[in-house]
């Protein structure tokens, strides 16, 4: 089974702060991590490889330093890493990112492709399904369990609002995963040694044979007009006094808003 896992290096958003004067993000000193959902995608890839045999290739698109993320995935047990890095890819929105990824994945001839359900910096959840469309393969989002997998197909549970669907698909297929799916393993010492020595493939525009009009800023239909800080909640009321008084005050407010 040829398994490809798409990962993204993201700033650890829990630690991102805004400069209150300029309203811009303070990125300095913010550590980069593998997008947390992608860790579960890597684990899913390794799980399938253990069940059916095969190879796990991790792929990422980003600046040269995103290589670190690929090496971390290899230390967990992935076999190979591909870094899509080219100035022509810069400024990609989800359309251009998915298009670029799909061109690279087509070269890898995957049977199963895993993505995290979304990246924690953009939170769009769009790159997985868009990539599947460009590859002209089916996809299933929000996988919480893999029930069965073989060369003939895969049966999984898809998380929905009020429960889940049991759903099967032919291969090749792209799956986006939620955290419930598994617990990502830690890198082994041997894995870390392998990762250090691993040769990362580096692909640019020429390697994926894509038209520059479909890449980067040029290939992106959406534009960011501006960013701003979310408004703070005005009119906060602290309810003071003894617990009795506090609860009485709250009861009065609840009546006021017709909650009771």
């Amino acid at each position: 089974m040829n398994i490809v896992v798409c990962i993204k290096q993201v700033p650890d958003t829990a630690e991102v702060r805004i400069n209150p004067e300029t309203g811009t993000l303070i990125r300095e000193g913010v550590p980069s991590i593998i997008n947390p959902f992608d860790m579960h995608a890597i684990e899913a890839g390794l799980y399938i490889k253990e069940k059916t045999g095969g190879k796990v290739t991790v792929i990422t698109m980003g600046p040269p330093q995103a290589e670190t993320a690929l090496r971390e995935a290899i230390s967990m047990g992935a076999d190979e890493g591909v870094l899509l890095s080219d100035r022509a890819f810069a400024g990609s929105d989800t359309w251009a990112t998915s298009f670029t990824l799909s061109k690279a994945i087509a070269k890898l001839r995957a049977d199963v492709i895993f993505c995290g359900k979304q990246a924690i910096d953009g939170d769009t959840a769009q790159v997985g399904p868009e990539t599947a469309e460009f590859l002209n393969i089916p996809h299933i989002s929000y996988i919480r369990k893999i029930e069965e997998v073989s060369q003939n197909g895969i049966r999984v549970q898809r998380l929905m609002d009020e429960g889940y669907d049991v759903i099967e698909s032919a291969l090749p297929v792209l799956l986006t995963v939620v955290k419930e799916l598994n617990e990502p393993r830690l890198p082994s010492l041997k894995g870390k040694m392998t990762a250090k020595k691993a040769v990362i493939k580096k692909w640019g525009q020429a390697d994926i044979m894509a038209d520059e009009n479909d890449l980067g800023l040029k290939g992106s239909p959406t534009q960011v007009k501006n960013i701003f800080s979310p408004e703070a909640r005005p009119g906060r009321k602290m309810l003071e006094g003894t617990p009795e008084e506090q609860v009485d005050a709250l009861m009065q407010e609840l009546r006021g808003i017709k909650c009771l």
Binding site: I18, L25, F99, Y142, R158, K179, P221, M251, E253, I257
Partner: protein, 396 residues
């Protein structure tokens, strides 16, 4: 894939299969089919005697003129034949955008009855495109995206909105990819730019630390998914008249198949996104048993039980209750945060609630920054008192 087969024209002669240098064409159901190994070398284009192989990029464009796109569309999703509440919220904002731009509002509905379609009209739609193809009885991404993309190509709406729900967020990206247009995820506010007519799509990014305004200036339609429970429903008018247009398409197919739809049975109400009142507990409960108190309060108020990630990680409550960036995003009328400190990851999932009531021992806890009403105190003292007083008020 930049190359596609026009299944109507394909005669199944297999000429192209032999021509492909990378074995990217196979036969499926007697028609040629281009698989994901296609390298877009375009060899097959000249081989096909029927002209049934077409280049993806060249298919759309007689309409590079974006001005020919008119009207606002919303995708009305259903589960089990019943329209989801997000559809009515989309009609609310859709009506506003359509009226503001002096244009019409249409809804697209797959797999539901005409009675349901009429509901959409009463809630503000001028027209409903309805498909009752049996393929839509279950949700599969491929047929949904095939038909919606085809309807959009035919009717050219300027704006298309869908819910940022498990269904909308899964298949709408495929539609945008197919149409080579922009899609903005999980918008919390939508406005029209008076000067350009562009849709200003406002959404949180970086875990809610910032808001971003996104535009799609040169491609149409401009597409967005909209966060549930953020937009207000429009006016319901029993006598409102509109048109129901039967829609369909030959050759819809799905390579995924839903075998079973399972409603998760839980002794606690878990349908967080629909709840008007949510009572959430966090690490401050100190103990899994604390959730019985949370549940008692929730039941009393007719609400649902939520939790912070810390409480889920501690194994006190199942993941399905988790509110926050890695859990559910909720927007109830009233949100109780009990013993939750308010990490950014939690705040982004609940801060657009109308009223937030915070009960926490630590006056410095960041959750107080988003509070409408704040109580500094021991939740094991406050909540039982509150339960008692609510019972008295309700004469239980």
């Amino acid at each position: 894939m930049p190359v596609k087969i026009n299944r109507d024209k394909c005669t199944g002669c297999e000429e192209c299969v032999a021509s492909c240098p990378v074995s990217a064409i196979e036969m499926k159901d007697g028609k040629a089919f281009i698989n994901e190994y296609c390298e877009a070398c375009m060899t097959c284009l000249s081989v096909c005697p029927e002209g049934a192989i077409i280049e993806f990029d060249k298919e759309a464009p007689e309409d590079t003129d974006i001005k020919s796109y008119k009207g606002v569309w919303i995708f009305a999703e259903q589960r089990g034949g019943k329209i989801s509440s997000i559809a009515y919220e989309l009609l609310g904002i859709g009506r506003k955008l359509a009226d503001g731009g002096g244009t019409g509002l249409s809804a697209v509905l797959f797999g539901a009855s005409e009675t349901e379609a009429e509901e959409l009209i009463k809630w503000g739609a001028d027209k409903v495109y309805l498909s009752q193809d049996r393929i839509f009885e279950q949700f599969n991404d491929e047929p949904y995206s095939q038909l919606l993309a085809s309807l959009i190509k035919e009717h050219k709406p300027e704006t298309v909105l869908a819910g940022a729900t498990p269904i909308g967020r899964s298949f709408i990206p495929r539609v945008a990819a197919r149409l080579r247009t922009g899609l903005t995820a999980d918008c919390t506010s939508l406005e029209i730019d008076k000067e350009t007519g562009n849709l200003l799509q406002i959404r949180p990014a970086f875990g809610g630390n910032i808001m971003a305004t996104i535009l799609c200036p040169n491609n149409r339609p401009q597409m967005a998914t909209v966060r549930p429970r953020v937009m207000k429903r429009g006016q319901y008018d029993e006598g409102r008249k509109g048109e129901i247009v039967k829609a369909g398409k030959e050759g819809l197919f799905s390579r995924t198949r839903v075998l079973e739809t399972v409603k998760e049975v839980s002794d606690i109400t878990v349908n967080l996104q629909e709840a008007n009142i949510i009572v959430s507990g966090g690490r401050g409960l100190g103990d899994p048993k604390g959730f019985s108190l949370i549940q008692e309060l929730a039941e009393l108020l007719g609400g649902a039980v939520g939790s912070s990630r810390a409480a889920v990680d501690a194994g006190w409550i199942p993941y399905r209750h988790q509110v926050g960036q890695t859990g559910k995003t909720v927007c109830p009328t009233i949100y109780f945060a009990c013993g939750i400190s308010g990490a950014v990851q939690h705040l982004v999932g609940m801060q657009s609630s109308d009223i937030i009531i915070v009960i926490n021992k630590n006056p410095e806890a960041p959750i107080f920054n988003v509070a409408t009403y704040g109580i500094v105190g021991d939740l094991y003292e406050i909540i039982p008192l509150l339960i008692k007083k609510i019972k008295e008020a309700k004469e239980i």
